[in-house]
Amino acid sequence: MTPPLQPGKAGSAVFTGLRRFAHAGVGLVLPALLYGLWLLAVERRWLPEQILPAPSLVWQSLQELWASGELQGHLLASASRVGWSLAVGGSAGLLLGLAMGLSRTLRDYLFPSFDVVSQFPVLGWIPLLIIFAGIDEALKISAISIAVTVPVAVNTLKGIGNIPPALFEVCRVYRFTPWQVVRRMVLPAAAPSLFNGLRQAVMQAWLTLVFVELLASSEGIGYLMVWGRQLAQLDLVIVGMVLIGAVGVALDLALRTLESWLVRWRPPAF
């Protein structure tokens, strides 16, 4: 969504290690305080247990769910939905973006409609999709795929738009076939933008997934949370949030790693 934030420059090299350690420590103060407050609130019974479960209870539920394999099942269900949607929506978006980016004619025909449709929030589609696709996998995969298609297509189009025209001329000089143009010039030249699209797509997919699972599902992390909410077992809700956060952090990390690996051939400008 936004470029990753650079950590602050840490001055002279000598104390860098020590200072980094101290700085990281400062970052832990706030979570530690909140955790302390949580413990205190539970111990003093400021809130009923249904509203604020003890951290130990959350931890216990997490372990039990993990040991029974239930948690892995929910995670797997959610992950496969995201995976399928990324494959379907990603290829649709890439094709759409390439078509609109490379052919003036197709752009004239498709872009105005695409532009209008892409401004509509995906959530608005969901009630209609429920009518057509029911509330099973088809709903989740179609909704998440729409959420994925838009950023991928937009960024593909943007990436192609930023390719210097000279490169297209070089391709013409070399008599590249259209496939060669796409494979050997367009895709590498648009790679940073394509990657940006992928990053946005993953984030949108994750957002939409949690929403659809909360709205209607019988398995998945979102379902676990709805279930916990209905049984007034807030420990399950918090387990769900922790998991969703952990997956979010993991996805972010994976995307960063992939990005640095993908653009490693690009010498840095500065």
Binding site: A24, S113, G124, L215, V226
Partner: protein, 275 residues
């Protein structure tokens, strides 16, 4: 700068092309063809018209619904919810972004928590918020504010971090007070990113408004409630119309935001690169 909006929705900068004819009719072909196909399959009875409702029925429903005070009230409630949540969230986001951007210590203390919590997919907060704050207006407002807070805080933070050191030194030489520093250096310099963050926040606020109304459908009144209740009663015409209304309101809010952004940042427009 004025074209910067939600990355997902950004209108791509098309490659320079010769001045196009005033109106390109090719863009109308696809919608018209789809509309015709929609009309044809329903008129010829090729599909179940309870599922794929005829366009005329949708139009009829639209006219009827637009005269229904309950619907209009719902739209107004949604808008009010959206804008109040947005106002609260963007104020908090601005404060947080300014704090983290101007003070290294604030960044070190708050940054890690902020960037970790940001990874929790927004809607995952809703079950917890609704348990703590009830199903009423409050949990929706807090949720919308939270959705707005992240992009605004991030945009502000990046904008403030981008203020050039040289400018800050000049300000220091002139012995700017803290308030002058904020009003005359930081806010103007960070304005474009703050505006981007606010525009993004507005989009997220609308998504959060509709999303929370979908998920807490049985409580309160709003556009999202109307649409999700139409699903329960299998009123496909109303669903289609509701979907269009959600999209139109979202697009309109977005357009207004871009207008305001362009107006407010007008003075920056002809900024020749300094380097």
């Amino acid at each position: 700068m004025s074209a910067v909006i939600h990355p997902v929705l950004t209108v791509p900068a098309l490659p320079a092309r010769p001045p196009a004819p005033a109106i390109n009719w090719r863009g109308a072909v696809l919608p018209l063809a789809l509309l015709f196909a929609w009309w044809a399959v329903t008129a010829l009875g090729w599909v179940d018209t309870r599922l794929i409702v005829p366009p005329a029925n949708v139009l009829h429903t639209a006219v009827k619904t637009l005269q229904d005070p309950v619907f209009l009230q719902g739209v107004l409630f949604s808008l009010g919810r959206d804008l109040s949540g947005f106002a609260a969230g963007s104020a908090a986001g601005l404060a947080l972004g300014l704090a983290m951007g101007t003070s290294r210590w604030a960044d070190r203390a708050l940054g890690p928590s902020f960037h970790t919590l940001r990874q929790v997919s927004l809607f995952a907060w809703l079950p917890l918020l609704s348990s703590w704050l009830g199903y009423g207006e409050l949990s929706k407002l807090v949720f919308i504010a939270l959705s707005t807070l992240y992009p605004v805080a991030l945009g502000t933070f990046e904008g403030v971090r981008g203020v050039s050191r040289a400018h800050a030194e000049v300000a220091r030489v002139y012995r700017f007070t803290r308030l002058q520093m904020l009003w005359r250096l930081i806010l103007p310099a960070a304005a474009p990113q703050i505006a981007t963050g606010l525009t993004l926040g507005l989009i997220y606020a609308w998504v959060a408004t509709i999303g929370s109304e979908f998920l807490l459908a049985n409580w309160g009144n709003g556009l999202g409630n109307v649409v999700i209740k139409a699903r329960a009663s299998f009123n496909v015409e109303l669903i289609v119309f509701g979907m269009l209304a959600i999209g139109l309101v979202g697009t309109a809010l977005n357009r207004i935001a871009i207008r305001i952004e362009a107006r407010v940042l007008h003075w920056r427009a002809p900024s020749p690169s300094a380097f």
